[in-house]
């Protein structure tokens, strides 16, 4: 084949350009540490990288959520612990009061203590976490438990123990008329439906709250009602009134008040509280477990992302050195080819 100057020039330029662009690729890989800069360079792995990066962002957020869930559940757990203590003390006092040998003075001391415990109970029920009430369900801005103008205990504005107990001195007519006012605005169920749900993983969620009516109960067997009955009994009342709303119209029933039967009721309350506490504990350990799994996932996906897009520095530096060598060799040979022609030798 006949070789001409333009030919040599053109193929030298073509090859130089190829070598230079190859070297540039190596430089870019070396300086960014990534084996591809645009999706077109490696569409499949680029798509994986985008996916892994998204996963990692998600996992980071789940980890933050899990940490939040843990601290919220811890506050809930310790509040329930306080409640448990209050009930245990009340039970002790009840056992003491049920003892026949209790003197009048002793009874008054016990009464004062029970009233003090009632105060504590009320405080616990309105406990807060970072300014939000813990047991208020979706009502986080205001204290969920309040005593309203009619001297009724309300939870999120609805009467909590409308069916009783009422003091024996209160007239039936007053009780019924009070009932009529709040009939449509009372809490009758202990079921919870205002769950604060945190996402702590793909498809794993955790309820981070316990609602007031779930923990304290509603109606005449609620923690508040039992404590009130205990107070009445210590004041010397022998009976209390409740409303039977099964009949139409509702009727007032007078119930016998006996301190020793309250021990049993307190035990029931304690059982409920302990099981709720256990539930919160279980949720906490679930979150902890999920957290561990998230850390593992984070590690796994970071490793995957890295093996997917990070370059092997040793390999790239070898390739770069090789590309540089090839480029300078082609430059050197180019200079040798282009320079001399017959012109240089005809003097």
């Amino acid at each position: 084949m006949r070789v001409t100057n333009m030919m040599m020039m053109k193929s030298m330029n073509y090859n130089l350009e190829k070598n230079l662009s190859n070297m540039n690729d190596m430089y870019t890989q070396m300086s960014t540490g990534k084996s591809f800069q645009a999706a077109s360079e490696d569409p499949v792995n680029a798509s994986k990288s985008v996916l892994y990066t998204s996963y990692l962002t998600e996992i980071e957020q789940y980890q933050a959520n899990a940490a939040d869930a843990t601290s919220r559940l811890s506050v809930t757990e310790s509040s329930i612990g306080n409640l448990q203590e209050v009930l245990e003390q009340s039970r002790e006092l009840t056992v003491q009061a049920a003892n026949e040998t209790l003197s009048e003075d002793d009874r008054l001391v016990v009464l004062a203590e029970v009233e003090e415990l009632q105060e504590q109970l009320f405080e616990i029920s309105n406990a807060t976490y970072a300014g939000d009430s813990v047991f208020g369900g979706y009502n986080v801005t205001e204290a969920p438990f309040e005593v309203n103008g009619d001297d009724l205990l309300t939870y999120n504005g609805s009467a909590l123990c409308l069916t009783g107990p009422y003091p024996e001195t209160m007239s039936d007519i007053d009780i019924i008329s009070l009932y009529n006012i709040y009939e449509t605005d009372q809490i009758t169920s202990e079921l919870s439906d205002q769950n604060m749900v945190y996402n702590v993983g793909d498809n794993s969620q955790v309820d981070v709250n316990i609602e007031g009516q779930e923990l304290f109960g509603a109606g005449e067997n609620s923690v508040f009602a039992v404590m009130e009955k205990l107070r009445m009994a210590l004041e010397g009342d022998t009976s209390y009134k409740t409303i039977n709303n099964e009949t139409t119209p509702p009727t007032v029933i007078e119930q016998e008040l006996d301190i020793s039967s309250l021990i049993e009721e307190l035990d029931d309350c304690l059982d409920d509280v302990r099981s709720t506490k256990a539930e919160v504990g279980a949720r906490k350990s679930y979150v902890e477990m999920t957290s561990n799994r998230l850390s593992q996932d984070y590690y796994t996906y970071t490793a995957l992302l890295s093996s997917n897009e990070d370059v092997d520095i040793a390999e790239v530096s070898m390739n770069l050195a090789n590309a540089e060598a090839v480029y300078s060799a082609s430059l050197a040979s180019g200079a040798k080819i282009i320079m001399p022609s017959l012109v240089d030798f005809i003097r």
Binding site: N5, M7, S49, T57, N65, Y138, V140, Q194, N199, L342
Partner: protein
């Protein structure tokens, strides 16, 4: 019997031949670097005839013993012109697709997916602190950021489409200009050669124009005899077709024109037709086809996935985002128990104009977290928004994230395909071009050796002239004396 001064005239022809060779070598060297220049070769006949009748040597001098012609291979030219359109097409496509890729880059942290992730993250944070106005403002900011990313991506694609549109108009102008020049050159070459001139410079120019034209659109070139020179050589003209239609027919060229239109949906279209009869012209290759594909290709019924395809996908994404999230958001309740408020402006559903609703822009606290009025801690609606963002059944391709990921992967694959095509087209045309240069290119070494040779011949011929001079001198002065 030989004529007395035959020797002198033989020497003058020799001197003339050497000079022609030297001139040609000089011209070749001068043009060693000229694009499109074909090496000129001196054809030389012995220039004398010998007749042996009566032992007489007759020397006839043929005036056309020396002629100059171009060194070209018509076969390689044809192959080059066949391969060039592919090079033009894939060069244009890789270039434009790469620009699209930099617009739709999801590998850095400024893309649409990064925006979705950030929005998701801000919503999750809000779940854990639904009261915080700062967390709500963060969500609003992420919605604005995501909308901005979509707006600017769509706008940039639109602008790119505009520049492609201009390229088409420009390319068609160039084609018209080149075909007109080629037709013109066909004429000039005919005239020049009829009058006995050497048209090789014009022929080079014509070939160069065809080289350039073949990048723009697919052409087939046919050589036709358009005349005969005085000494019986045929004059070659070029007839150029694209598809089945004539672009250049000897001295006439046929012009193309572009028609730009916008339909009711605001989708722009450019079509090309013949200026004379208005019939559609569809290029099969070349940069014109590449630009048309990018300009009009919406991926439907097997057409190319050009700019409209990606713009439509972004619009589809934006409108789904607006509808799906708005339905959920409008059903929820904000801090002041406002409901029915849109997250995105419900009237702006394209990627170009998607934006946060004006209510939320002014009142971030109206962000509807709650599924019920008056429940400050209720985040059920917020959870529904998060769920919707991650719902893998939103599109056939999966979630919002998956949709964009698939879109960019598709673009990436297209580019990588185009790059491969470009590489092979470059290699092939390069090889053909090298072969052409091997035949038509100037080798300085060759020309220099030719110069040295001709110089020697010239010297020798001059010496011969001197010798004849002496012989004649002897004849005249000695004999006459």
């Amino acid at each position: 019997m030989a004529s007395t001064f035959g020797g002198i005239s033989l020497c003058s022809v020799g001197l003339y031949n050497s000079q022609t060779n030297l001139y040609t070598a000089n011209v070749n060297i001068n043009n060693a670097g000229t694009t499109g220049y074909s090496r000129q070769i001196v054809n030389q006949d012995p220039g004398y005839t010998t007749t042996m009748s009566n032992g007489v040597v007759a020397v006839g001098i043929n005036p056309d013993a020396v002629s100059i012609e171009q060194s070209r291979s018509a076969y390689l030219d044809q192959r080059y012109w066949n391969e060039q359109p592919a090079l033009g097409e894939w060069e244009t496509k890789t270039n434009m697709l790469s620009q699209m890729e930099s617009i739709l880059n999801e590998l850095d942290d400024t893309g649409i997916i990064a925006g979705l992730d950030a929005l998701n993250q801000s919503l999750e944070t809000l779940t854990t602190e639904p009261q915080s106005i700062a967390a709500k403002t963060a969500v609003i900011q992420e919605v604005i950021a995501l909308s901005d990313t979509l707006n600017s991506s769509s706008q940039q694609l639109y602008d790119l489409q505009t520049s492609v549109e201009n390229d088409i108009v420009f390319t068609v102008d160039q084609i018209n200009q080149k075909t007109a020049e080629i037709a013109n050159l066909n004429d000039e070459i005919l005239q020049l050669e009829l009058s006995g001139g050497n048209a090789s410079a014009l022929e080079d120019q014509r070939n160069l124009l065809i080289d350039e034209l073949s990048q723009l659109t697919d052409i087939s070139v046919m050589e036709t005899t358009i005349g005969t020179t005085s000494d019986g050589q045929s004059i070659i003209g070029y007839t150029i077709k694209s598809g089945n239609s004539l672009l250049v027919n000897e001295g006439t060229s046929h012009a193309l024109e572009t028609t730009e239109s916008i339909n009711a949906d605001g989708i722009r279209n450019v079509s090309i037709s013949w200026a004379e009869n208005g019939q559609d012209y569809t290029p099969n290759s070349g940069s014109l086809k590449a630009n048309l594909d990018l300009m009009n290709g919406d991926g439907t019924s097997g057409s190319y996935k050009g700019i409209p395809y990606f713009m439509n996908d972004l619009d589809e994404f934006a409108s789904t985002l607006v509808t799906e999230l708005n339905v959920i958001h409008e059903a929820g309740y904000g801090q002041e128990n406002d409901t029915g408020i849109s997250l995105f402006d419900p009237l702006s559903t394209s990627a170009l104009n998607i934006q946060l609703s004006s209510e939320l822009l002014e009142h971030p606290e109206q962000l509807a977290l709650s599924s019920q009025p008056g429940e400050a801690g209720n985040t059920e609606n917020l959870s529904a928004l998060i769920e919707c963002l991650n719902d893998t059944s939103t599109f056939g391709e999966g979630s919002f994230n998956d949709y964009i990921n698939k879109l960019t992967t598709e673009l990436g694959s297209d580019i990588s395909y185009a790059n491969n095509k470009l590489e092979s087209a470059t290699g092939l045309t390069m090889q053909i071009d090298l072969n052409r240069m091997s035949i038509s290119g100037v080798s300085v070494d060759e020309e220099m050796s030719s110069i040295v040779l001709q110089q020697q011949i010239y010297d020798a011929t001059a010496k011969m002239m001197q010798m004849w001079n002496e012989i004649i001198d002897t004849t005249i002065t000695q004999l006459g004396g």
